[in-house]
């Protein structure tokens, strides 16, 4: 039980320190020019990297589902519809293959 307490306290403390450090760094950088363009581009770049990582780790079924998800997302721009299409594709292919 002491192990659990130390683990939770340690991870909670470090995780909040990371969240705070990012904010402090961002707040002290200039809000115009190049820095502004970098921060504007950051969300898309980080999510693009995350999707790349998820797809690199995915199997064949998830790869097909990703193509479906990209197509549905491009057509509908809808978060729930894209999720339903992707999940249904994986479930369907798992049932068949």
């Amino acid at each position: 039980m002491t192990e659990a307490v130390s683990l939770i306290a340690g991870l909670a403390g470090l995780t909040f320190a990371i969240r705070l450090a990012g904010y402090l760094a961002g707040a002290h950088l200039p809000a115009t020019g190049r820095w502004a363009r970098a921060f504007d581009a950051l969300p898309g770049c980080l999510i693009a990297a995350l999707v790349t990582l998820l797809l690199a780790e995915a199997g064949r079924i998830e790869g097909v589902a990703a193509v479906v998800a990209f197509t549905v997302a491009a057509a509908t721009r809808s978060l729930p519809v894209t999720m339903i299409a992707g999940i249904a594709t994986v479930a369907g292919l798992q049932a068949v293959v």
């Binding site: 939770i8 690199a56 249904a88």
Partner: protein, 239 residues
């Protein structure tokens, strides 16, 4: 903004709560998986709920408890889990506009509630032209926190009864969600350069080097943002 700010904050809080619901499904799936793992590590319902509330970072919690179950020491488990959170540096760094000028308690609350999901949804919503700011982030974060704590604690209590989410295709929920969010973050051709650099950096680092994926994400995100800074890519010059 100040004149009608009091009208707007609960409208945004509500919009954030409503719009996050599909993503909450992904979090619930992940929460069930973590709760089962927590039960293996002999975390009770209470410890699991406290961990979810105070850490509030799914992949880091899974990594840390997995390491503990695998026999790593507490220190190594904490470091392995925290390393997965390095991308949160970039997440909270780009919240500076939302947090600027707010009282300390709101800044600390917003930081603790910042996750990939509500942060990405905040930016995607804004690119789509709808208003979304601090309270949108907080609304989404509160729903995710509630869903995370309830699903992890419930799964820790009833670990034997939890079906395998992967068998239902639910393991794909996050990938599909982030594909949709990526589509909504697209601002135009100016994004090609920064996104291309970020994607190529991620792929290169994970296939050609032994750098852990958590670091690859941070390096790739910074490389993409730096590309936008240097080339002027990314579209908006209104800041």
């Amino acid at each position: 903004m100040l004149s009608n700010a009091s009208d707007r904050w609960h409208t945004e809080l509500w919009a954030g709560q409503r719009d996050i619901l599909p993503l909450a499904l992904g979090v619930a799936t992940y929460g069930l998986a973590f709760g089962v793992l927590a039960a293996q590590a002999d975390f009770g319902v209470f410890a699991t709920a406290v961990m979810g509330t105070t850490v509030f970072a799914g992949s880091a919690q899974i990594m840390a408890v997995q390491q503990l179950v695998a026999g790593a020491g507490v220190g190594a488990a904490v470091v392995a889990g925290a390393a997965l959170n390095l991308r949160l540096l970039l997440v909270t760094a780009s919240l500076r506009q939302e947090l600027r000028g707010r009282p300390a308690w709101q800044i600390l609350l917003g930081l603790h509630l910042a996750t990939d999901e509500n942060w990405a949804l905040l930016h995607a919503t804004r690119v789509a032209g709808r208003p979304a700011g601090y309270w949108f982030l907080v609304g989404g974060g509160l729903v995710l926190l509630a869903v995370w704590v309830v699903t992890t604690a419930t799964a820790a209590a009833f670990a034997q009864l939890i079906p395998d989410p992967d068998a239902l295709g639910l393991g794909f929920a996050f990938t599909a969600a982030f594909v949709a969010i990526l589509r909504n973050l697209w601002r135009g051709l100016g994004d090609v350069g920064p996104w291309g650099v970020s994607i190529a950096t991620t792929a290169g680092l994970i296939w050609l080097t032994s750098l852990p994926p958590a670091w690859a994400l941070v390096v790739a995100g910074i490389a993409g943002a730096a590309t936008a800074a240097v080339t002027g890519g990314g579209g908006h010059a209104d800041d």
